[in-house]
Subunit: 256 residues, 2 copies
């Protein structure tokens, strides 16, 4: 499935750079500008600065005169509009729409007319910073995506809106894995190892005169629960037993 | 639950403004800056410009000297770090962590030690643009959030990172509803209305010599399926029957 971001009549060069960066960080690179304010917007200093390394997206980007040219090869159009239009496409939250779009209805029996397949080219359309999208451009779209924002402040920066849509769409497409932790996975201590630790600690706590064996109250069950919640690793059990051992040794020396 | 965003040693004033805007658009307003590069960063022109109306967040923001001061009252700390640290907190994707955090384990029987409740104050920590977070600051955190980005380009702008975290966190907290569509909800045409339309259209298509009643092929079932997928409203059925009526009338006039 191809993904395209289309900016219509964008006026701030910095935003074009920010959009290129926001796209690349989510693995997208097809950017089309319809009649931007600056003809040289892709080469302006502010653009390149805010792109912060997403130069290949800028290099590949196209500038066209009309929305028609920008839409070539796309078969599913998503407007991004904060204001729903009468007779326009349904207003939907991005996540819900992406889920529905990628799970098309399946025909129930083989001899039924097959349901339409998932789209092959999805375009996200963003209007100008000052005026948003024109009604006639919104009417062409299959959905009007509305990012849910605070009721009293819906002023999303253009690059921020692209960032959120690109993120949700990438996640819906399966996402990128977070980097593996540098440390190898922890190997959890089993209950026997934990019981050994608690016994060892109990002796140490008695030795340093913190725990009174005649009136132990609920100290050991509390520690047991604390360690359960912490899900101790084998290595951590070793460390804590080392602490218990050192406490016992110091207590013996103190009694000499 | 309280939510705080903490920026550590931020160097670009524009980013502070962008962060204020990103927070406010998701309904958050508690911003703390630890040792920013500019002491007057909250009043700089670039900051106010990029905040684009989120002036109340800037007015409420605090500047402090140390992370300790910034953390007051918080009991769950999320680092945002692209590079996992040995011996640091687990590296987690934001959505998965937020889901787990807001659904704490429930004790299975009433007499068990109750599971710890959900946190009351959650802080999101962001390092400086150039160096990220210091190891010792990451070690204090309960989780290291890693926004899943393209494997070859993980360079998220600071305000963009705050925007994504604020969005995921707001969604996890229940989200904001998208605005209701301006138009009243469509009232779907029932199957009887659809059957009437198809009959009317069939007559009209015969009248304009498009459909041969002796060899109708599969035209009407195809139209039926098309209309099923489109989920026609009652109003749309009226419009299409108006079209059929006009076709029939024109065909009659043509035969005179």
């Amino acid at each position: 499935m191809r993904t395209r971001f289309i900016l219509i009549q964008t006026s701030h060069a910095g935003n074009v750079g920010g959009v290129a960066r926001a796209m690349k960080v989510m693995g997208f690179d097809d950017l089309v500008l319809v009649a931007p304010r600056w003809a040289n917007v892709l080469r302006r200093e502010e653009t390149i600065q805010r792109a912060s390394g997403a130069n290949d997206v800028l290099a590949k980007a196209r500038i066209v005169e009309s929305l028609d040219e920008a839409l070539e090869g796309m078969d599913h159009l998503c407007a991004t509009a904060m204001t729903p239009r009468d007779f326009g496409p349904p207003t939907l939250a991005p996540r819900a729409h992406f889920d529905a779009l990628l799970r098309p209805t399946v025909a129930e029996t083989p001899d039924q007319t097959p349901a339409p397949a998932a789209p092959e080219g999805v375009a996200f359309l963003f209007g100008s910073e000052r005026f948003g999208m024109r009604n006639e451009d919104v009417y062409r779209c299959h959905a009007a995506l509305c990012i849910p924002t605070a009721p009293d402040f819906g002023s999303l920066n253009l690059a921020a809106a692209v960032q959120l849509i690109a993120y949700d769409w990438r996640q819906a497409l399966g996402g990128f894995a977070p980097p593996a932790a540098a440390a190898p996975p922890r190997s959890l201590a089993d209950t026997q190892a934990l019981a050994g630790l608690l016994q060892h600690l109990e002796q140490a706590l008695v030795a340093v005169d913190f725990l009174d064996p005649e009136a132990p109250k609920k100290l050991m069950p509390r520690l047991n629960q604390l360690f359960n919640r912490a899900a101790l690793s084998e290595e951590e059990v070793h460390i804590l037993r080392g602490v218990a051992k050192a406490m016992l040794k110091t207590a013996q020396q103190a009694k000499r």
